[in-house]
Symmetry: C2
Subunit: 412 residues, 2 copies
């Protein structure tokens, strides 16, 4: 359209992020992002819910927030209050819950209310990339706490808090994913949760509990939320329907005491989150959530089995991982000689998309030979094929896995 194209570059602030590149479609073997199993989206139930709620209340879409105010559609908040009490032991009401446009918006509200450039937060060493990116952009100092198979290590947390105090720094919060940690798939025990809350109280640091994956514990039983266990109203809790129903709906929620909810709400200047999706979810979830989720978990567990089998078959002992307690991702260690940032590039050329460890960790060196593999979205066949291709690429680029190793493993 333009013969004499305007140059925007001189108008950009210093330090602008690099420009986007044109999108080229999803990878053939798409092991990244929190996508869910498309075959398990409850289409018939959602259709019936949309029809019912539009028939009954469709005219309310003419009003922002369908007239239910800035916290969002009230029946969805009421459903959540019941669900959070039943599943996570949280004694909350609809007035304590804010519906957001996906949990990432909750991150932004918490960030907006509490953080400024130069602040310090504590989180798990290996953690959610979306959070780490925001810290990097926002100039936030991040203290990563190592994990073991029980989640964040409390000895390391105690040491980090003491160290911050010695340096005169009060961290703005402790960010944790205690129930199906991303990316490690661990669950923090009740005892460790108690200790975390005790340390938080001792040092006067609030807790930011990311509960987005907690519906996907294989056993169907989870420890009480930190929010439920705290007696001090010092926990901000977020959750999502992305993992239990469908991520493209972009519906999450934030639970917080009014002392801090009232400071986050002024940062929600979007004129409300999409109401139809809230309405449809409320209508669907009230009767169906408790039967849908166990069926979803069963299907996801089966895909995880396929993934672990495929890794054993094609990588042999070169791929180390713990069987996660739930979720949609597997955190895999490759031999130390493998650089997963480079593996990502090489694999992409063969149609395989992976999350390299350094993007999911506060410790790039530790995570350099690690990767996150998401298994919910690809089919069983795609998982098998994709892992085989990935093993070929890894062998070509880094010499591991060796063929003999695989054969031995398969025969074992």
């Amino acid at each position: 359209m333009a013969q004499d194209t305007f140059d925007f570059a001189p108008l950009l602030p210093a330090g602008s992020p690099p420009p986007a590149v044109r999108w080229n479609g999803l990878a053939k073997y798409h092991f990244i992002g929190g996508n869910n199993d498309g075959d398990q989206v409850p289409i018939e139930g959602l259709k019936a819910a949309a029809d019912a709620v539009l028939t009954r209340e469709g005219h309310t879409l003419g009003t922002y927030n369908v007239g239910h105010g800035p916290l969002g559609y009230r029946p969805l908040r009421e459903f959540l209050a019941g669900k959070l009490k039943r599943d996570a032991g949280m004694a909350v009401s609809a007035d304590d819950i804010l519906i957001v446009s996906g949990s990432l918006q909750a991150f932004d509200l918490i960030h907006g209310a509490l953080l400024e450039r130069g602040d310090t937060v504590i989180c798990e060493r290996d953690t959610y990339e979306g959070m780490l990116n925001r810290y990097t952009r926002g100039g936030i100092n991040v203290v990563g706490i190592p994990l073991d198979d029980g989640g964040m290590r409390m000895d390391a947390l105690a040491a980090a808090l003491a160290d911050c105090k010695a340096r005169g720094t009060r961290p703005k919060y402790i960010y944790t994913i205690p129930t199906v940690q991303n990316p490690t798939g661990t669950i923090m025990s009740v005892e460790r949760r108690t200790e975390l809350l005790r340390l938080a109280a001792e040092y006067g640091v609030p807790v930011f509990e990311d509960d987005c994956y907690s519906d996907l514990v294989w056993t169907g039983e989870r420890p009480p939320a930190l929010y439920a266990m705290s007696k001090r109203a010092d926990v901000i809790h977020i959750g999502s329907f992305s993992k239990s129903i469908a991520p493209a709906l972009r519906v999450g929620f934030l639970v917080a005491p009014w002392t801090i909810m009232s400071r986050m709400l002024p940062h929600k200047i979007d004129a409300g989150s999409g109401s139809l999706e809230q309405m449809m979810l409320a209508e669907y979830c009230m009767p169906h959530f408790t039967s849908h989720v166990p069926a979803l978990r069963k299907g996801l567990r089966a895909k995880l089995e396929t993934l672990m089998e495929s890794l054993n078959e094609h990588f042999g002992t070169a791929a180390e991982f713990d069987d996660p307690k739930g979720g949609i991702f597997l955190w895999v260690k490759l031999p130390d000689t493998v650089d997963t940032m480079k593996l990502r590039q090489a694999a992409a050329k063969e149609g395989v998309a992976i999350n390299p460890g350094p993007e999911w960790s506060t410790d790039a060196k530790y995570a350099g030979c690690r990767m996150r593999i998401c298994f919910a979205s690809p089919s069983h066949e795609q998982i098998r094929e994709g892992i085989a291709v990935l093993a070929d690429v890894c062998r070509r680029e880094f010499g591991v896995p060796t063929r003999s190793g695989n054969v031995e493993k398969v025969r074992a």
Copy 2:
């Protein structure tokens, strides 16, 4: 829940906005916000669209952005490309259009890409509150350009640009609502648009065209968009489905040359806007948009007539306004002795919500006796009653309108 409640206050950054207060429901006579006519939400069409698209593509909700990439659901972008060509003369493709979570997200993306504290922008003196709030929070200097019944005055714009240049300041953009200006309801002529683009080119300043109300021109005909008229790819254009279909859906769009779109996309870190609403809108709008909107306009025009009659009846000559060229709001001047910030407070106690002029203007003094009245959402009866109550409150607080004045006006 807390015996020993945690105090978040010491953790808040300096300069945090004041805390939110608990929401108390909509006012009985609700003349604020861009709400639409609930009775004209096309419920049956939306239901059929949701059903069809969920049946055909519901499983894609398992993938972020339903697999269509960061620009959003492709059929909706294709619908928009056709609509923008037909209605606004814009030669754009689906690849030039980004779907956003309401036009406010577009504001935030433009802000994020182009503005930093201390920057200067040019806009219409009386303009959208959501924009002014963002400038205030972001520490942006705003130069307001007076309007007349043809929109932004070009003599004043030329003087402002020259003045900025003389001070060594290059404004980051000229923000304008040329087609049904908010709040004045004016439409900028083609000649004036040409002059605006000439001035923008002369001073090397891009244009930010807010086209959110352009579907609601009473005559059904609108001038070409500034985006269409520019030969220099120096216009960023935004629009919305809030005014044409329903605001609670939160679906807007942003059209921009890739030179700047590629710098805005890195600021969209929300993992996509809600897909179901995009899918339903695409399915509904392709066959129905061009018949729905004229019917909607007719109903809105009838409500405007009721509002203008009610103002004439109850305020008489004390309320001055121009008949707007379209839209959902009326910009009303009261006698100079009236302070609409105070009127807002007094009216709220009687159940009447109005937008006081100073919140919608860069010139609080000029706008001090002005107010914005939104007429799409309340019923004809609510408009009549609400304006009667507002006149009573105004008389009690400011002595105008006088009763005799009203009677004369009604008899005239």
